[in-house]
């Protein structure tokens, strides 16, 4: 007897599934609706619909929180961190997947082992390193840190991808006169595009969402990222909760957009890492 086909089984199953659906969706919907209320409406009843949609809240959000600066910083930092990360990991993955040399496997294993490191434990060394380099409170500090932290996962993904690219193409290219670096730039890199996009998407999202090291390594509002900016909203917006909620909604939009366009890459990247073990 299939218990899931009985009325009782089906009910329990759907209560279960809908519960998690509600938890995932309802708070976000509530936040969205509340961001369009006036302060008076907000204070009177949390579960009401806004009488009129206060788009002014969103304009206030941008002005009070300086969303444009926060946004720009996050875009710049996440983009450059991703590019740097992809460059150095693809170079290393190229060499490790193609050439045989002393310590090749050990180097590869050590790099991938970095995935298990609790980065949060490195607050003191990272702070010291960035200060010594004179990069405290700069965007560069985060670009370097984010690029570095994502090395293990990007290297793992890109290497796995490159290994499956047949060597015959490069052998043919070498016969035609390709140099070592040209094999990388003209043959392997273009063929690795899918792996690069996957690794790049994960690195970008991670960098965009990162909070702890943005908090630790920067202080002025000029280089503040969106995530760090959100943490200041309570003091900036004081009692204007609806506008603050509007700012939070705005901060969420880029992540959702990236998901809409890259969800297959995101999921394949995450499953590749975990399923391999």
């Amino acid at each position: 007897m299939n218990i899931l086909k009985t009325v009782a089984g089906k009910t329990i199953k759907w209560v279960f599934l809908l519960f998690f659906f509600a938890v995932a969706v309802l708070p976000l919907v509530w936040l969205f609706l509340t961001s369009f209320k006036t302060e008076a409406e907000f204070i009177s009843y949390p579960l009401s619909m806004p009488a009129a949609w206060q788009f002014q809240n969103y304009i206030d959000a941008v002005n009070v929180a300086k969303m444009h600066i926060l946004f720009m910083n996050s875009v710049v930092i996440a983009s450059f961190a991703t590019l740097l990360n992809l460059l150095i990991t693809s170079m290393a993955a190229f060499v490790v997947s193609r050439e045989i040399f002393f310590l090749r496997n050990s180097i590869s294993n050590v790099i991938v082992a970095g995935v298990l490191m609790p980065i949060v434990a490195f607050m003191v060394p990272y702070l010291t390193l960035i200060r010594t380099l004179g990069l405290y409170d700069t965007r560069m500090a985060l670009v370097l840190t984010y690029a570095a932290i994502n090395i293990p996962i990007s290297f793992f993904l890109i290497k796995s991808f490159m290994i499956s690219i047949p060597k015959d193409l490069e052998d043919a290219a070498t016969i035609d006169g390709c140099s070592f670096s040209q094999r990388y730039t003209k043959v392997v890199l273009p063929l690795s595009r899918s792996g690069l996009v996957t690794a790049g998407t994960l690195t970008f999202i991670w960098s965009w969402n990162e909070f702890i090291y943005a908090l630790l390594l920067t202080s002025s509002s000029k280089v503040r990222t969106i995530q760090l900016g959100i943490s200041f909203f309570t003091t900036q917006f004081r009692s204007n909760y609806p506008a603050m909620y509007a700012a939070i909604v705005l901060a969420m939009i880029p992540s959702v957009l990236v998901y809409v366009f890259f969800h297959d890459k995101i999921i394949s990247g995450l499953t590749a890492g975990a399923v391999k073990g």
Binding site: N2, F16, P46, V95, P118, V120, H263, T271
Partner: protein, 294 residues
């Protein structure tokens, strides 16, 4: 040496950037955090060697003990509760009920939004006067709910944990991918033989995806031991120090210019994290379809 490969010059050039970054951000910190844990240091004046004095101080401190307790609660909550729920949902979705693709997407969306935004969202939900939770409870029970979920000793920790445990999307997707790789013919055969759903899931699905589930549990526990963001944003460790975690304590120590003690906490984090991963992999291990150790 490497000169056996005639491209060795290029190999070194291509490995230099990653080596530099990896040494700077993984190897050096790993060593430095341990060495500085043995020091008394404010970040500016020279370090002063104190041996294991910081460790003794930490183990005796109440905040430390509370933080460790909380981290263990986090690790267990994420590792067992969150992954457990994710596994059940994955098993249910793998049978492709109606709308399963939509549900899968919806479950995952909150995971793409930053932890910071989610924490602020739930801070709003938990708000005593204007929050959605109290409003919904008032509606359902007919009584006036005005509980300060994040400010009361007996609810704060559970409230923060809830907003993370209930978002099962990440692990659910990974386990789902594993479950859906099992050929449906196995289940059809089992059904013909009269196996119940429970038997099918525990005797077919579970053994096959067990490795993935253990990986998920290990990852989740590792996250639990490192927890920082949501607590920092929602309670700052309070009320009192009741929701504090090791990472939060570490951050506070840095603010208090006690970098040596901060490193001590960092080293403890690394060691404990390592122990958890090794223990989990050894005890639960990975068993293939036939039940052998892999």
């Amino acid at each position: 040496m490497a000169t056996r490969n005639r491209n060795w010059k290029w190999i070194i050039i291509f490995l230099l950037p990653i080596a530099a970054m990896y040494i700077a951000f993984f190897i050096y910190p790993f060593i430095f955090v341990f060495i500085s844990s043995l020091m008394k240091w404010n970040g500016i004046s020279p370090m002063e060697f104190v041996g294991f004095g910081n460790y003794a101080k930490m183990f005796g401190a109440t905040t430390f003990q509370i933080s460790v307790r909380n981290n263990l609660i986090w690790a267990a909550s994420l590792g067992f509760l969150q992954v457990g729920l994710a596994t059940i949902v994955a098993f249910l979705l793998a049978r492709r009920p109606r709308f399963w693709k939509g549900l899968r997407t919806v479950y995952f969306v909150p995971k793409v939004i930053s932890g910071v935004a989610i924490a602020m969202l739930w801070k709003a939900v938990y708000n005593a006067e204007y929050g959605a939770l109290n409003a919904v409870l008032s509606l359902i029970t007919g009584q006036e709910w005005s509980l300060n979920w994040l400010g009361e000793f007996h609810t704060a920790l559970a409230a923060i944990i809830a907003q993370e445990v209930l978002y099962i999307g990440y692990f659910m997707i990974i386990i789902l991918a594993g479950v859906m790789s099992i050929p449906t013919s196995y289940y059809e055969a089992a059904e013909i033989d009269g196996a119940s759903v429970w038997q099918q899931e525990t005797l077919i699905t579970l053994p096959v995806v067990w490795g993935i589930v253990v990986t998920a549990m290990t990852l989740a526990m590792a996250y639990g031991l490192r927890h920082f963001e949501a607590t920092f944003l929602m309670t700052g460790g309070g009320p009192g120090h009741s929701t504090s975690t090791l990472a939060l304590m570490m951050y506070d120590k840095i603010g208090a210019r006690k970098l040596g003690e901060a490193s001590t906490l960092g080293t403890i984090l690394v060691v404990v994290g390592f122990l958890v991963i090794v223990t989990l992999n050894n005890t639960l291990g990975r068993k293939s379809l036939t039940g052998e150790d892999q």
